[in-house]
Amino acid sequence: MNFFEILKFSIDLLAVFLLALGIKGLSKVRSAREANRLAAIAMTLAAVGVFVESLGASGIPFNSWFWIIAGSIVGTFLGAVVAKKVSMTAMPETVALFNGCGGMSSLLVALAVAIFPLSSSEEALNMDLVEKISIVISVFVGSITFTGSIVAMAKLQGWLATPAWMQSKIRHFINIGLGVVSLVSISSLLSVSDSGLLLLVISSALLGVGVTLPIGGADMPVVISLLNSYSGVAAAAAGFVVGSQLLIVAGAMVGAAGLILTQVMCNGMNRSLVSVLFGGALGATVATDSSGSGEYLNITSCSAEECALTLEAAERVVIVPGYGLAVAQAQHTLREVTRALEGSGIEVTYAIHPVAGRMPGHMNVLLAEADVPYEQLKEMDVANPEFPATDVVLVLGANDVVNPQAKNDPSSPLYGMPVLDVQEARTVFVIKRGMSAGYSGIKNDLFDLANTSMVFGDAKKVLGDLLVELKELGISGKN
């Protein structure tokens, strides 16, 4: 080992250590921001390591510098712009986009090595089986990650709807067909050299589309998290291709961590990974099964004015924000309403279901953006025992997560899902656009209860009306 190799080795070790610390730290609120920076430093170190190694070996030709700088400038600039410009509500699709590009990168590396073997380095002259396998894995997983992520992004943005035939059983046959084609091309790649590569790229790319397209919007975060895990796998495979242990360990770490995170998300939504991936939209199947029992008998609706009157008389108010609030981008208006209430001495807290928002944890980010103090956000386990002592609950665009069926009705598909016990409060207002069912397609028993009133309308508009009414009652937001 010469000096450069030792230096490169130390840098790599340090980078892996910092990366592990970074991932660990990201799972605690207090250390998360520093951990993120730590991980960024680790990535920079990893890049420095590559330069150090090649300086020690044969140096870096001028040609290479040019292409390195060109690629870096474009990627860094676009990444920074997107990261700065994107709105907090658009976070799920942004993560999907970034993730897809990571997959694309692994795919391109593997393709490049497959088409133009690195003949300059003697060990690559005779491509052995392991290298072929890693290229194949990298291409396969990379393509699926790329197209899957892009489809996920397009669906979340609303650019793409699911065609009806994709919801039917046909899609399973199509996907199985694509899987078979992929396997055939993989085996031909491994036995007969240099054939089937294009076929593999196309079939795995289509497979990514075919698997992601039928999945409903609320399940998408799970898919993105899974694809994120895949891109770790693709990175590890690329590590085998170019012979970098750093890449292997980092890819494996992200792959495994992503898998755990996916599992955690599934648990929060009371969904199994298998049903997310192969069951298609839960709503589509359940709604047809149980549509007969979906009649509401005792709906009370009221205006924003009545709601404001009740709020004025309350001492403790709990806000339950959900997907609808995020979609309506009403978090800032909500904050004005709660400021007004706090201004007149009413205690306001927020009960956050683990999967509230457009993806797990998203609601916390949105409310933080609207300046809601972190201490006012209560997690489900803390919030639930406090509902009986609560005067008014405002349910904003949440549905399934406040459905008492999950506790009371063993025959309900929701049974067993952790929910917020809002019905324990004295009065519940549900702000909702209409009587349509939630994501699960199941009737919400909460709406039928005597202490529940519906306020119909878009969350942002209703909150705006509420603010006006509160001001007329002499409750203003100045505090």
């Binding site: 292409w67 676009l78 088409i115 360990v249 494996a252 755990i260 993806m359 980010v365 103090p373």
Partner: protein, 97 residues
């Protein structure tokens, strides 16, 4: 044999480490964690860099490496910045109280 067997040990231990690192994550952090882990998965930029450096005068290889590096850095830089933006909102609140 040496690189390969080492590489598989690395793969195994790295996966086990990854499984252990995220045990209990508060739901608050799911979104930032996902985005941060996503930025780290852009580590393929190392592969792209290696590719460009080893490419020599092979123009198609240089171009593919460069494009791949661009995609990876888009993922890395964007991922870390956007995660920082999210986390900044949490930390700002706890200081201000």
């Amino acid at each position: 044999m040496s690189f390969l067997s080492e590489a598989f040990w690395v793969l195994l231990l790295g996966s086990l480490l990854g499984l252990e690192l995220i045990g209990k994550v508060p739901p608050t952090l799911h979104t930032p964690l996902m985005s941060g882990a996503n930025a780290i998965s852009g580590i393929t930029m190392i592969a792209a860099l290696t590719l460009i450096i080893k490419a020599g005068d092979n123009l198609p290889l240089l171009v593919m490496g460069s494009v791949s590096l661009g995609f990876a850095l888009f993922n890395v830089v964007g991922g870390f910045l956007v995660t920082d933006r999210m986390l900044a909102m949490f930390s700002r609140k706890s200081i201000r109280k």
